[in-house]
């Protein structure tokens, strides 16, 4: 059993907001009792379709949620919650965030200075630039002058300025050509092999399967299945949840069968299984709340799964 770096227990995130045409504030719950664990030296890929709230998970772990967010459950880094005080000691040093796009860089600051951040040194920066094959004059460029691949490598260098034991990467691949995307993911694999825990949030299940150790399938604000990557590669019969099976079926290299319907809107969720409406194995058991349970070395939120 390897050492746990990040543990999320029953995380609930909601946003307090006004309803349309009303003065009443209600809380729109977007993440419902989500639990996951990232171990030392391991990549956990959280896959799910766009707009399902995956980025909110990353923001919740990093205390980045806006003021109107209502958060429940706990986030433990090495067994302890990340308080405001610990945040100052950890962020930029032990915990690193790799954001999804160049928009996360200050548009009017040279990238060299941004890579260094407040803790880094220019010596370390030059080492990293060498390692990631960035020309040394990249330091003097502004974010808008970088290509997509360079921007990605810049953000990785920023993450490595400290000595990260946990890296959280939000959508690291969109907008990249296949070989640059693969190269980026290979970097993540290298980090993990050196003992870092990586939480990778992505909608590209295909790419994630290349490097991840475990895959968590995210659907309508909760994780419906966590399983070793091997199970996903073996195919749908090794998987547990009907949605994960359907996901595998939907891949171009497999059956290429689309899943009918859409994810339910966060403000209008069914009380029972969130996937029930679109599930072909639906029966009377699906009306009740689906608890997470262990099954064949993975976890699943489906009462009918075997």
């Amino acid at each position: 059993m390897s050492e746990s770096i990040l543990k999320v227990n029953n995380l609930v995130v909601g946003f307090s907001m006004y309803q349309p045409r009303s003065f009443h504030k209600t809380t729109l719950q977007v993440i419902h009792s989500l639990s996951l664990e990232v171990n030392k030296g391991e990549i956990l890929a959280v896959v799910g379709s766009s707009g399902s709230g995956k980025s909110i998970l990353a923001h919740a772990v990093l205390n980045l949620l806006p003021k109107n967010a209502v958060v429940g459950g706990e986030v433990l880094y090495k067994g302890q919650t990340i308080t405001k005080k610990r945040e100052k000691e950890l962020f930029g040093r032990e915990i690193a965030f790799i954001p999804q796009s160049i928009d996360y860089l200050d548009p009017v600051m040279k990238v060299g200075k941004q890579v260094e951040g407040v803790f880094g040194t220019s010596k370390r920066k030059e080492e990293l630039f060498n390692q990631y094959k960035l020309p040394i004059d990249t330091s003097n460029k502004y974010p808008f002058q970088l290509s997509g691949g360079m921007a990605r490598r810049i953000l990785i260098c920023g993450a490595l300025m400290g000595n990260p034991e946990l890296i959280i990467a939000d959508e690291p691949t969109p907008g990249l050509s296949l070989d640059i995307a693969m190269e980026t993911l290979q970097h993540f694999r290298t980090f993990a092999d050196n003992g870092t825990g990586v939480l990778m949030i992505t909608h590209d299940i295909d790419l994630a399967l290349n490097v991840a150790d475990k895959v968590a399938v995210f659907y309508a604000g909760s994780i419906i299945e966590i399983a070793p990557t091997q199970d996903f590669i073996k195919g749908k019969d090794a998987l547990r949840h009907p949605y994960s099976k359907a996901l595998i079926d939907a891949l171009p290299q497999n059956e290429f069968v689309p899943i009918l319907g859409t994810q339910p809107y966060a403000g209008d969720l069914p009380s029972g299984c969130l996937f029930a409406k679109r599930c072909k194995y639906r029966n009377e058991n699906c009306v009740g709340r689906q608890e997470e349970r262990e099954l064949r070395g993975g976890k699943v939120r489906c009462i009918n799964a075997v």
């Binding site: 923001h59 990093l62 205390n63 980045l64 100052k88 950890l90 962020f91 930029g92 040093r93 915990i95 690193a96 965030f97 954001p99 796009s101 928009d103 996360y104 860089l105 200050d106 548009p107 009017v108 600051m109 040279k110 200075k113 951040g117 407040v118 803790f119 502004y142 808008f144 002058q145 920023g158 300025m161 400290g162």
Partner: protein
């Protein structure tokens, strides 16, 4: 290469602007009830009709409007702005004297309102919704909507009449010989008008900066900075100042027109002998040459502000500057 092209372009624009401003001012003054002859000789003149007709002919007042305008324009090109009826001096001299007073007043207010305005705006933005933010915002909305002359009068009543901290007007003490006036006197008389004008022009920049800071705080790169372990002080120093200063300075330069207008009103309240009081005097005395001169100088002043703002953007914003170099 590109910069030189811009400079030429800006200069051409300036010439066109000045031409249009003077044309408009000339037409307006010519069609106003001002009779240059009457304002020159006075309403109770005993001059004979023949003598009057001679003056009219000598001045070319009976010529059609376009021809009169061309005569005026021709004189301007030869450096002759005419004589001020009010001050019995060449217009250029009057404007030179008066504008130096106004310029000092405007620049001091401009600097004060800019510096304090940006600082207040940043603090308000960082504490959005807090008590400090609300008070400053209310204050800015009041000073923005209150008429300048009323604010000036209030300051006079409070600071000069009640508290007797400052003189009630003018640029130098009354009844002193020019040789006895010290620099201290000038400064002492300048303080109250400068504060009034600063307060009047501060609201704009405070509210603008505040809005910018709020937007920046909500942007993704601030989230990223937080995950890199930057504290609020470092975020302000590294990101907020960098992103806010340039637009704030630009706004401040392009507010030269409001500054000029505010200055004219403030000078009248404080009987400060600058270009603002000269304009009022010229208008009351039907002093057409001086009015034309003031129109020109104010256009040049406002245009310079806008041009500096334009150029600054090109020089300071890396997104524009570097893009220009890459071409």
């Amino acid at each position: 290469m590109k910069k030189r092209k811009n400079l030429v372009y800006e200069s051409i624009r300036m010439v066109i602007l000045l031409f249009l401003v003077s044309l408009l001012a000339f037409v307006l003054i010519a069609s106003s009830p001002i009779d240059p002859l009457v304002s020159y000789i006075g309403t109770e003149s005993t001059l004979s009709a023949e003598a009057k007709a001679e003056i009219v002919e000598y001045w070319g007042l009976d010529a059609p409007l376009p021809q009169r305008f061309m005569t005026w324009l021709n004189n301007i090109f030869h450096g002759d702005m005419g004589n001020s009826i009010t001050y019995k001096k060449p217009v250029a001299t009057v404007i030179g004297e008066r504008f130096s007073y106004s310029f000092v007043l405007m620049m001091i207010s401009w600097l004060i309102s800019g510096l304090i305005g940006v600082v207040l705006g940043i603090i308000c933005g960082l504490r959005q919704g807090g008590i400090f933010d609300r008070i400053i915002k209310l204050f800015c909305l009041i000073t923005k909507s209150a008429p300048t002359f009323w604010l000036g009068l209030m300051f006079l009543v409070v600071f000069a009449v009640w508290l007797k901290l400052f003189p009630i007007g003018m640029a130098v003490p009354m009844g002193n010989l020019a040789s006895e006036v010290t620099l201290g006197d000038y400064i002492y008389h300048l303080i109250l008008p400068a504060i009034t004008l600063s307060v009047v022009s501060m609201g704009e920049i405070v509210l603008y900066t505040r809005q910018q800071v709020v937007e920046i705080l909500n942007s993704d790169f601030i989230l990223y900075a937080k995950t890199r372990g930057e504290n609020i002080g470092q975020i302000v120093k590294r990101h907020i100042l960098r992103n806010v200063l340039l637009p704030a300075i630009t706004i401040q330069f392009s507010s030269f027109s409001e500054l000029f207008g505010g200055m004219a009103l403030a000078e009248n309240v404080f009987a400060y002998p600058g270009i603002g009081t000269a304009t009022t005097a010229a208008a009351l005395n039907a002093d057409a040459p001086l009015l034309m001169g003031v129109a020109l100088i104010s256009a040049v002043f406002v245009f310079s502000g806008n041009m500096i703002a334009n150029v600054l953007y090109g020089v300071c914003d890396p997104r524009i500057r570097e893009a220009g170099l890459n071409e």
